[in-house]
Symmetry: D3
């Protein structure tokens, strides 16, 4: 269905009235950037509970999922077709009064465009993880699912000017949707590639370069420690949540010199 | 309308049989990345003729235009919503047997995703212009339409690792669609900003950072020369066409290590 | 008093038993990196309350201050003589069971050495601010107290590989200890320099490059907004606290490949 | 023979009258940068025909060769002694009315000085190849003849600010003049090094770093494809020709802010 | 013992009257940055003689050693606690009328702070070696004692903007104080790592990344030459001395825009 | 006159027998890179005396001058035609038993090629000055004679990977050969541009970007000091001499991995 959108408002509106700040919870919305597979049951509520369990006591979590796009994001093409649907979910979150959002995909799809569209902080999982790991190491390696993903991650590194922090990007060569078919195999391959990253590429920490690795960080960290490698391994989703909480708590808003609001004009979707 | 696309072919097909190479024309498709305004008449045929006039004698030009997206691309948001429609047009061009395509927008929307999707060369106007101007100068400045566009151009500079070539980005602060309301005014402002770029930012050449400036390069170049400044000014569209012809003539194809083909999976548009 | 320290333990000890995690508060220690002036009253408790007021409900704040060093840190020399005393306070914090520390000085004195010495996260105010502001802008300017401070901040930018994020460093040319003699004057100068940073240096956000500016960020942000500049301005101390809370919540620890534990050897202080 | 040159004209002359543009062919001169070996027969006419066969139907090719210098260019010394003779040939080409020149050596000898001396485009083989390959890949490796050549290529990478595009430089360790003694051996070694570049250095495309490899690109590309590597391999000479045609077609001229014309002064050759 | 230092003079004093320049020797002080081990005999006079033997005929050498700090500097922590004591020795050297100083540690501890404190040149061993080796090679590798030292050397590379000159950093994994227990073993490992640096990391020269390697450079250089590798290997101490002599001879002084003099304020040590 | 050179020896010969080292003077040859003007008297002996006066007591100076090339080097063209003649003079110096050479032109013409040709150190004036000034400042500006020279200096900055050290390049816009027509005017303009470099470009030190400024450094340094700017200004020639003395004293030789010896082949001059 095609329609015209003629009126994105450019007036800057303070998003939380300061009077009610102390009285109400911080509200954060998790935007899942892949559409549900036709075979998989609905997992929105399950994910909401998982994030709520990781959240601060004063945080209230909401979850939304794109209805179109791809069932997994593994290259620039998958990213490109998901972005318009992610943008819509981000806008809805702001309209619903959320204080900040984060996007679950490690490829940070659409964060610049989303920051143009809304005033609330829009956190990308990759950027949040790269930031936090730089507090406990100088150089990180990313271990991701597929070699296919590496060029898109390379692009992110350049966009975020993080070349000076990167040791290497490696992959376990398992597609996202097959990750949970044999989690033990995935974990073994993660361990192997992480050790190579430390020994051959001088990595000092590991980022798990796909949301699908959620829940594997602590075990991987322990396995490395058992081999004498005191190497931080970050959980992608939890790290993004904590950075989003910090951003919301600080009441940050998007620089309009960096992310200019879309002008009124004819558009069709 | 939602549907499932399950079968992007990953088999690599040589796109022109070598036997017929010498006998037929090189075919290039121009992809216009902005949708038509509801008020403007159709200009596809007019544009085709203009590009055909600039083309080599052995080149046949086709033109396609996105049906959705924005009427102008002035920030990351406009770019993001145009990209899926651009990708569709690129795919159609390959299916129709074109040898190469170029995308008219100076923001190079979707070129990485498009190179994943097809085997034929996909040329971005910005990248083509930055390349050619580096043959006749060491550092270029971009003069674009609006300050709003500058952050997106900065992103392009980082993605293409061109920081070492950039003198500055300046704007005339006229929206794309108003450029042709008073072309003399636009040209005067272009001249002023170009002179500032040369004198204050050490620019040695000028790129016109918007397809809307098409046709103004030669006059601007002459005005600079009249002031003693022997400074190349490139025409965005013509330059992109010439680079696309060269790429097609060389029968280049996209590296699948750089631009991996989309895997078969559920997608919905 | 001179003594020998022969036994820094290299054994890695998990710092919070997981059993008690949910039952007790997160404990964060603020390390003030300048010694008290001989004329100034004790402000430790006042500061503790201020940080406690900014903290999450589940955070307990402690504050410590170096007993030696300088009353203000305005160049590399001041930083160098403060560092050994800061290291001592960081070590004490770990021994007291704190989950993370942050150092109030914007020059991040001693953070690499401190991370070698302890396992808990050690957050520098500059690094934390540079991270958070990169979520809402692409390029920041720092406005600091004195021109004297600029070379040391330049060093930090290089150490943290943040050149690609920096628009400029400017100063109001008021020594730290005179900042609060005429706060209105300081704020006016901050506003002037921030506007110049935005207009002349293409800054998209402002970092206040000295702990002495604490409390001025919101007012400055509002003044910029009143001039139509939607430009985030971060409060140095509050931002560092929020990042430290996130790091502690994630139970991050220091990479020993990046920050090797000091070996046993003769040392004298 | 020594003489004085006192009068390089600094007046800028438009090189093709626009009236005759459509009526006559584009004229391109190929400058061979190595002198003929005393044992080899003249190959100028043979080369002219080869380039003419690769050229556009509307291009007329001329070929010139330096009379002095080295029989092959394999380090900075060989390059330095060839440059004055190359410059002379470039100047002659402009005087003869050519529209553009390109220099066959992959080391781009003398292109900056040549651009100072003439107004017509002067294309270096390396720069042209690095440009075109960036349209179909993000990172290229160069495979060259000898390890000796690598430092000079490293210099080129720095001069052209292309570090961000380079995966690696490798060599087959065969001197230029021995390349055609056993072409099958050369091709086998090229294939081996190219595969290592892709597998070990993350190359996404291959540049053949010596004019002596001319004619081997297509076969190498096919061999890689047979191993499942869809990796563009560019033919050095043909690529340089196509870029030169594009530059001539666009009527580019050299920026005199980048390449200032030599001033009148005493010189002796 | 704590005391207050209230009066660092900011007046700039020309340090050698020009009248007496030709009549007296150049005086250079070597600052040893590690304290003596409780078991080792005094070596100051021995070192003075060794440096005097390497010095120019018109140079007079003095040697000073820190009384506190560490017996060896192997990470950022060791460096941090040595710096205040090094600064004191540098100040004393200026007060005694020395014309320049150099600091023996390869980690360049405290050089920026020291340049703020005094007007005479303060040379770091690392910086001096990196400079001189760049006259005879494009890319150097550092071979140091321990992996622990590598992150601190990485920091130096960033601080000095020398990334473009570095091939790699390797270590022999022997602690400084054990280097002379089995010098033949140390030399064998140095040779092995240097050959790997040349063959695997494309090093063109070798810097010995620890003062403890003093005296091994020539032998290592000869061993490499015996294997056909014409690779310069610099002696850390002698190189630093020669650069210091050159700086003193040129009567260089420290830029106060780069290294602002410490302001008068309360400080306690 | 044309001839063939077939036998550049590749055997590496130790250039000073160690036995005689202590008994004889260090011998340094100054290579003047511009030919004498037809009107100017011979100045070789005058220059030799001037350099001898600046040299160490144990240094013996020789001077040679190219017989062909240009009377001044002001762009890449002048540099290119001078280089073969400079190379010849460098080779002669090695054959005559000199221990090191330096080349007087600030554009460092031919240093890489020269290092391939000989084993003794070949010092470029620019590289030597950039090195020494980095001991007393973090960022330097170059003030040169003409805007024409700036692109060539920019190339040097890239070749030497010194972008991180450069504040700016400015010119006084006086051709080299007119510098001494009105030295007071030259000095006034130097002062003005140096002050602008410090105030507007954040320069912390000044390099005089042309050999023609020799003798003006001290006066300029004093003028800046009189305005409260403690800014080192280096004398180009004296600085190059001191670095050359240090290199010779250290018996450095050229890395043959960086600067491979020219292979035997037909060459014609």
């Amino acid at each position: 269905m095609a329609y015209y959108l003629l009126c994105i408002k450019k007036i800057f509106i303070r998003r939380r009235s300061s009077s009610s700040d102390s009285e109400r919870k911080m509200r954060i919305k998790v935007i899942m950037s892949t559409m549900a597979s036709s075979e998989s049951p609905d997992i929105l509520e399950e994910r909401r509970k998982a994030y709520q369990a990781m959240a601060r006591p004063d945080t209230e979590i909401g979850v939304a999922r794109v209805e179109k796009g791809s069932v997994s994001i593994e290259n620039e093409y998958d990213r490109a077709i998901a972005v318009p649907h992610i943008l819509q979910k981000v806008k809805e979150a702001e309209d619903e009064g959320y204080d900040a959002v984060f996007i679950t995909c490690f490829g940070d799809p659409g964060i610049a465009a989303a920051r143009e569209l809304v005033n609330i902080p829009v956190i990308g999982t990759f950027q949040a993880n790269a930031m936090m790991v730089s507090l406990v190491s100088e150089k990180f390696s990313i271990v991701t699912v597929l070699d296919d993903v590496i060029p898109a991650l390379d692009n992110l590194i350049r966009i975020q000017s993080l070349k000076g922090r990167l040791a290497s990007i490696r992959s376990v060569n398992i597609p996202v949707l097959e990750l949970h078919e044999d989690p033990e195999d995935a974990l073994n391959k993660l361990t192997d590639e992480s050790i190579k990253a430390v020994k051959e590429d001088v990595a000092q920490s590991i980022l798990l370069g796909c949301g699908g690795f959620t829940g594997m960080a602590e075990e991987l960290q322990n396995r490395l420690k058992a081999k004498g490698l005191i190497i931080p391994v970050l959980d992608p989703g939890k790290t993004a949540l904590k950075v989003t909480e910090a951003a919301a708590d600080l009441k940050l808003y998007n620089s309009k010199s960096a992310y200019p609001s879309p002008r009124d004009k004819e558009r069709r979707f």
